[in-house]
Structure formats: C-alpha cells, structure tokens
C-alpha cells in the first residue's frame, strides 16, 4: 500500500468516526425533540441552513467547514426565530408557519448556493454538497470539529435530561412548579439546531432532520423508559451514520445523506416489526392470543 493510500484510508476512518459521533448525538438530542413533539422544528432549522452556508462564504470569502457551519448555525437559529415571529404576529398556525419558513428559507438558500458560481464566485463550487451531504470532501480536522460539537450536545442532554423530560411530559405541571418551560424549550430546540448543523456536511440540509427524528421513533419501540430510549436512539443514529458513510465510501458516486437516511429507515422498519410488546408482530401475536394490551384492573386494586 502506498503512503498516499494509507493517509486516505486513515482520513476515511477518522471521518467515519466523526460522522458516527454526530449520528449518536443527533439521536440523543432528537429523543428530547420528538418527546416534546417538536419534530418539525428541526426541519425548519435544517432548511434554513443553506442561507447561512452561502452567507458565511459571501461574508468571509472562506470555505473551511468551521466558518460555513457557523453561518449555518446562525441561519438555523434565525429560521427558528422566524417561526416564532410568524406564529405570534400573523396568527398562522404551527404547521402552516413551519411549512412557510421551510419553503421560503430553502428557496432563498438554493438561490444563493446555485447562483454564486453564475455571479462570478468561481471558488464557491462545492457549497451545493451541503444539499445532500458528501463526506468524501471532509478532512480529519473537520471530523474532529464535528465530534467536538457532538460531545457538547450529548453532555448538554445528559445535564438537562431530568428537566427536559418533565417539560416534555407535562409542561403545565413544570410551569406550576416553577420551571422555566420556554427556556427549557428553547434549549431543546437550540440543541436540535446545533445537531442539524453538525449533520449538514454528512447528510445535507434536505435530509438531516431524518437523522434527528427517525432514531428516536425507532428507539421508542424497544423501551418504555426515557433514559433507555435516549441511549438506544443515539446508537441507532450512530449505526445509520456509520453505514451511510461506509456505503458512500464504497461507491464514491453516491451522496452520503440519502444512504444514512435509508439505513435509519431500515432500523425503523426492523423496530416497528420486531420489537417486543410494541412491535407489529408482537402486537399481532398478543391479539391472536386474545390478550389486548392490558389496562389496569381497577376493580381488583381499589378493593384492597
């Protein structure tokens, strides 16, 4: 093996590990997001990122990952801010407001990213890779950056898991007992924005929200405890990211994002079918035995 091939292989492995770390963190953060029923917030943030990528490039003339992702994070937060403003001041309902922000910000982002070369920014080529994700272009340095962001996000979830679970389960009780519900909500959605941005290089703006949403939904089938769900969701995200990166490395023509999402969807399908108790097969088997999910028998217990 030549030295160049050795470096290349080393680079691929480091990038795969970095992206896997992002997959883990996205699954962990996504659990809170899905439990709080804010799955679409991630989508709004994701579609807004392209504007930030293009904006960061225009503002600095640089195209290193840290600069572009910083721009993406600003744009993601701005997109979420727009969402709040549209809801509050135009009395548009949540779903319509989300669709509106997704469409407008994405249209703007595509216009900028695809227009830059035409407007004479010759070295802007490659920005469109943030659309569908492309890990081949990532360096080991980039991978370390992504891994660091992932570590921060996981640490944040570990720190606020108790508070976030309380708010996700019963926001009224949380508020009545003095917890700052909107502050905790902003923190959850902010972490989602962070993970959407970190997932951008590998999975791309269009699909990155799937990395935040599919793993927790799949994980939910296997467990009835939040803590277990968070870890399991992280592992599913990690596996999906690793499989996607490996598959696109084996077939260089394929974008990474779709492969990651297909892998995650595979995990979902297996979970939906095979999980004990909540899985389709288990539920069918239970129904066949004439045992529908047993609700508590009040009669027996209240008499004690």
């Amino acid at each position: 093996m030549t030295a160049a091939a050795g470096i290349l292989a080393h680079n691929t492995v480091v990038v795969a590990l970095g992206v896997a770390a992002v997959g883990f963190a996205a699954g962990v953060v996504g659990s809170l997001c899905v439990l709080r029923k804010r799955a679409l917030a991630g989508d709004a943030a994701a579609h807004a990122t392209l504007v930030g990528v293009a904006g960061a490039f225009l503002a600095t003339g640089r195209r290193d990952l840290a600069t572009l992702l910083a721009g993406a994070l600003v744009a993601a937060c701005a997109g979420l801010g727009m969402l709040v403003l549209v809801r509050r001041f135009t009395r548009t309902r949540d779903d319509a407001a989300t669709a509106l922000v997704i469409g407008v910000s994405f249209g703007l982002g595509i216009t900028l990213v695809s227009g830059l070369p035409a407007w004479g920014y010759a070295n802007s080529a490659g920005l469109e890779q943030f659309l569908l994700g492309h890990t081949a272009a990532l360096t080991a340095r980039d991978a370390w950056l992504l891994a660091a962001v992932a570590a921060v996000a996981v640490a944040a979830v570990a720190a606020i898991l108790k508070e976030a679970t309380l708010v996700a389960f019963d926001a009224a009780f949380a508020a009545a007992t003095g917890w700052p519900v909107s502050g905790i909500d902003y923190l959850i959605v902010g972490l989602v924005a962070l993970m959407v941005v970190a997932g951008l290089p590998a999975v791309g703006a269009v699909l990155v929200t799937a990395l935040v949403v599919i793993p927790p939904v799949a994980a939910r089938f296997w467990t009835d405890r939040v803590g277990t769900m968070v870890v399991l969701s992280g592992l599913i995200g990690l596996a999906a990211a690793a499989v996607g990166v490996a598959a696109s490395a084996a077939r260089p023509g394929l974008a990474t994002g779709p492969l990651v999402v297909i892998a995650a969807a595979g995990a979902f399908a297996v979970s939906f079918l095979c999980a004990p108790h909540r899985g389709w097969i288990a539920r069918r088997a239970e129904a066949a035995r004439g045992l529908t999910v047993r609700r508590g028998d009040d009669e027996g217990e209240a008499g004690r």
Partner: protein
C-alpha cells in the same frame, strides 16, 4: 402552620381572558383555613381557568392572587398541583414511579437527580393512593382512575401546604373517586388546604366543607351547607337545563348531610 391572620389563598378582583375574550371576571375569594374547598359550576364557567390563573399558567388581565399573603413566586414549593388527566400523553415512555418522582423536582432544583430519599417518599405517596404494586408499570397501562391517582401521588410528593386539583374525578371510577376523596380528607386532617375544581354536585355536597359556585364570576361562596341552596344553584346553572336533574339530586343530598 400559618398564623391565622394571613389567609391561605386570596383572589382579589381577578379577571382572566383568552385573547380578548374574558373568561372569568371580578373574582374575589378568600380561604383562610385548611379545608376541602370545591370550585363548582357548569361546563365552560371558567373554573379550570381560575385555577390555572392562580398557578400563573394563564396571565391575569386584572387583580391578584396571593398565597399566605405572598405572591406565588415566593411560595411555589408550598403549592401542589394536579392537572387534568387529558392534558398529557399517557403513551409517554415513563413508568408510575418516574411520574411520582417529578413531584420532588421542584425541591431538588436544577441538575440534581432524585436519590434514595426521593424514592422512599415517592413509594410512600404511591402507597397512600393504593398504587404501590404498579410502581414500575408504564403509565399508559393503567386505568383512568389509576392514572388520576398517579397524578395525586405526584402532588403528594410535592409535600405542599395547599393543593390545587383540576377535575380529579373526571372519567374516574367510583372506587378511585372514594380513594381520592379519602386521601384529600387526610390532607385536610393534616392541616392542608385542598382546592378542587369539580363538576359533580352530588359528591360536592357530600365531601366539601366549603364551596364557591362559579359561572364566569363567583355566584356564591361559603360553607357548603349554606351555599348549595336551590336559589344559588339556579343562579349558577341558569340556562344549563341539562343539569336540572343533577340539581334536584344535589339538593336532596344536601338535606342528608349534617
């Protein structure tokens, strides 16, 4: 114990609106001693809104609510809350013990996780509502009455001095209702004030020491026996013909209570 000079709860000229539509207005209500207190009225009378306003969950348009003479922010840990059962997703991945432990979070504060002391307390609270043997069950696999008792146990774990319960008997079987009322009675005996938003006039006459009849404003309030009079009930439920039968029975039941 609170000195008797400071009322446990006082509503002063409270008005609450959703958007521009007022829901309850000019509510004046003072509760100065521990008791079982019922907030009674027809559907849509603003009973739950009043309770939520007291807890700071919906903003007041006017007036103020004080607890032990203080604003809520300074005495939050002394106020327990049982929300309506339908407000949460019972498919949520937590078990009975997890939910009851949430009652201890207010005292624990940021970042501290419940430990042995909290678990012991939660177990004790579950025992009081008769659910000790389902502590590890996912909350969706409980009957409505059991779910309501889980919420009550969570409020008990708050170890408060005042408890607010929002329709705790809605969709609850008779045995669970009895059990819940007995727990509330025990709280009163231990010196707590228990305020219950309630819609069933029969059980109201039977259990509450004092009531406020509410139909967007306070129609009447005071000792149950003096307040649940035919005249007051007619005034509260005017235009709610569907409850006339209930009314008749409630008035009959009132005759039986001492």
């Amino acid at each position: 114990m609170t000195p008797p000079t400071r009322p446990l709860v006082e509503f002063h000229d409270v008005t609450v609106a959703y958007g521009r539509r007022p829901v309850v207005w000019n509510v004046d209500l003072v509760i100065d001693s521990p008791c079982l207190f019922g907030i009674i009225g027809p559907n849509g009378a603003g009973k739950s809104t009043l309770l939520k306003a007291a807890l700071g969950l919906v903003p007041l348009v006017g007036g103020e609510v004080r607890f032990f003479g203080e604003p809520l922010g300074r005495v939050r840990s002394r106020v327990g809350y049982v929300p309506q059962r339908e407000t949460v997703d019972w498919d949520f991945p937590v078990n009975v013990m997890d939910v009851v432990l949430m009652g201890t979070y207010g005292r624990l504060g940021w970042f501290r996780r419940p430990g042995d002391r909290e678990r012991r307390l939660a177990r004790e609270c579950l025992d009081r509502v008769g659910l000790a043997d389902v502590a590890s069950r996912q909350i969706g696999r409980l009957s409505g009455g059991q779910q309501q008792r889980v919420f009550l146990a969570r409020a008990l774990a708050q170890q408060a001095d005042i408890y607010f319960l929002d329709e705790p008997m809605a969709g609850v079987d008779v045995r669970s209702q009895e059990r819940i009322f007995h727990v509330l009675d025990d709280l009163k005996a231990a010196g707590s004030l228990v305020v219950v938003v309630h819609h069933d006039l029969r059980t109201a006459a039977e259990w509450f020491d004092r009531v406020a009849l509410v139909d967007r404003r306070v129609v009447a309030s005071g000792r149950t026996i003096d307040t649940l009079t035919p005249e007051n009930l007619q005034r509260t439920y005017a235009g709610h013909v569907d409850v006339l039968d209930d009314l008749a029975q409630a008035i009959a039941a009132r005759g039986r209570t001492p």
